[in-house]
Amino acid sequence: MGTKRLLPAAAALSALLLIALALAIAVGSTSVSLRAALDGDPTARAILFQLRVPRALLAALIGATLAVAGLTFQTLLRNPLADPFILGVSGGAACGAAIATASGLARIPGLVPLVAFGGACAATGAVFLLARRREYTDPTRLLLSGLVLNAFFSAVILISFALSRQSDLTAALRWMMGTLFGATWSDVLLLAVLLALAMTLLAAMANDLRMLAFGEDDAKSRGVDVERIKLAGFLTGSIVTGAAVAVSGIIGFVGLLVPHLIRMIWRRDFRFLLPLCALGGGVLVVLADLLSRVVLTSSELPIGAFTAVLGVPFFLSLLRRSR
């Protein structure tokens, strides 16, 4: 029954995603023809298959990951304001990266993503332990711990930046603003595998997760192992967010905005929203990344600004139309 209405929605969003991907691959500062690339022109091949295609795919994966994590946190915490970043995940990642910058370790290639991922995991663990009391995790304490830790991380980041060398700061700032510049096929592969695992896990928990919407007591009375679901959902959402942040830096708004956008169009439960959020998040970030590349010819603008520029007007118009 439910799946009958899901398929057309998923098909529509998939089509949108394909169009967005095609646009992102076709448009750029240099014009390349697909024909030339297929005919073996080495420059065209390199631009398409080493730069634009992996970058477009990575944008889609990052968007899907952040939107799915946002949906999961909003469902788990029964709070429309929850998103992957409010819970301290991004703050932890940024903090790790900032310390690496200040200490000069960031100059070692490939170290920033690793440190950022470590920071995200440490923050996640800290937030969860802080919110846990007598085998019960209180959603309000979880949000509050995340907010307070984020404030602490901001302070550490500022101090680290004050101690950093001027030449290291540019790269650090670029990362903090989020960028898909330099996306590689190995990033794409890593994130694709993680996202597939997370989606499978979340789909397996979906029947239980959506019952949390009615409150934890209600879910328990329906035979849901609430504490286990909260722990598994929180860890899954945090790990994929940590990986996304490690690869792309901090791209805000997607995790908060996309689940609400999707929910305003299709007012259904978690199982229904999960695939739609993945697709919708992909569309938003692919388009935002495209804009960030082409608005200025001289340099790239921060992609996080464009997820907001694209998403907020759409969000507000839907908000006005819905009751």
Binding site: T3, A203, A204, D217, S221, R222
Partner: protein, 254 residues
Amino acid sequence: MLEARGVSFAYDGTDALRSVTATFGRAQLVALTGPNGSGKSTLLKLLARVLAPQAGEIVFDHRRLRDWPAKEYAKNAGYLPQDPDPTFPMRALDVVVSGRAPFLGRFAWESAADYDEAARALALCDAAHLADRYLDEMSGGERKRVFLARVLAARPRVILLDEPLASLDVSHVQQFSALLRDIVDRTGATVLYATHDLNWAAAYSDRMLVMQDGALVVDDVPAEALRPERVRELFGFDAEVIESNGRRWLVPRR
């Protein structure tokens, strides 16, 4: 069928239930009353398996509650918390069909048969016309019906309701009380509901339980439960008891 044997529970060292013993057979409408904080909600949560007893035992069909697989017990016992709220807007029929969740496999979606059960439950609650409406655009009375239908969608044998009549106006209290009576008579389920409305409880229920400070102090037919000296002792006010058509009604003395 369902039995609490010397059940106790404390929140962080504060006693909420003290050795409560009660037995529930089938097809009974049982009203659970008592002052605020007397342990009504806690008893319902223990019977719904939301909380586990710290002492004593709850037994359903000769099997201890903790030995029942969670989802299996959920098929037999339905629970409605005090203020259910789906967080995000949902259609009434989708809310009701989610009551079928204990019957679903891991990756399964509700089948047409589950939607039929949901429609049946809505009709039973006189709420068939609400199926396509959204909860956030309903009145309190309509929402209550939808949530009761959600409980009924699993066809439970035991139905536990935490203050279903709270915040309803008097005509809805009457309709809802009659609806509970009807459900017991038609489905043979046993309904245990917490309420502060002594007169309405007496008028419709088969049995009244009164709690005080975590203990079950009265378990009797309504006429006996509402004897004037008991009322003063339990609820702390002087009442005149008027008998009419074999029923007792409480009227407070000013």
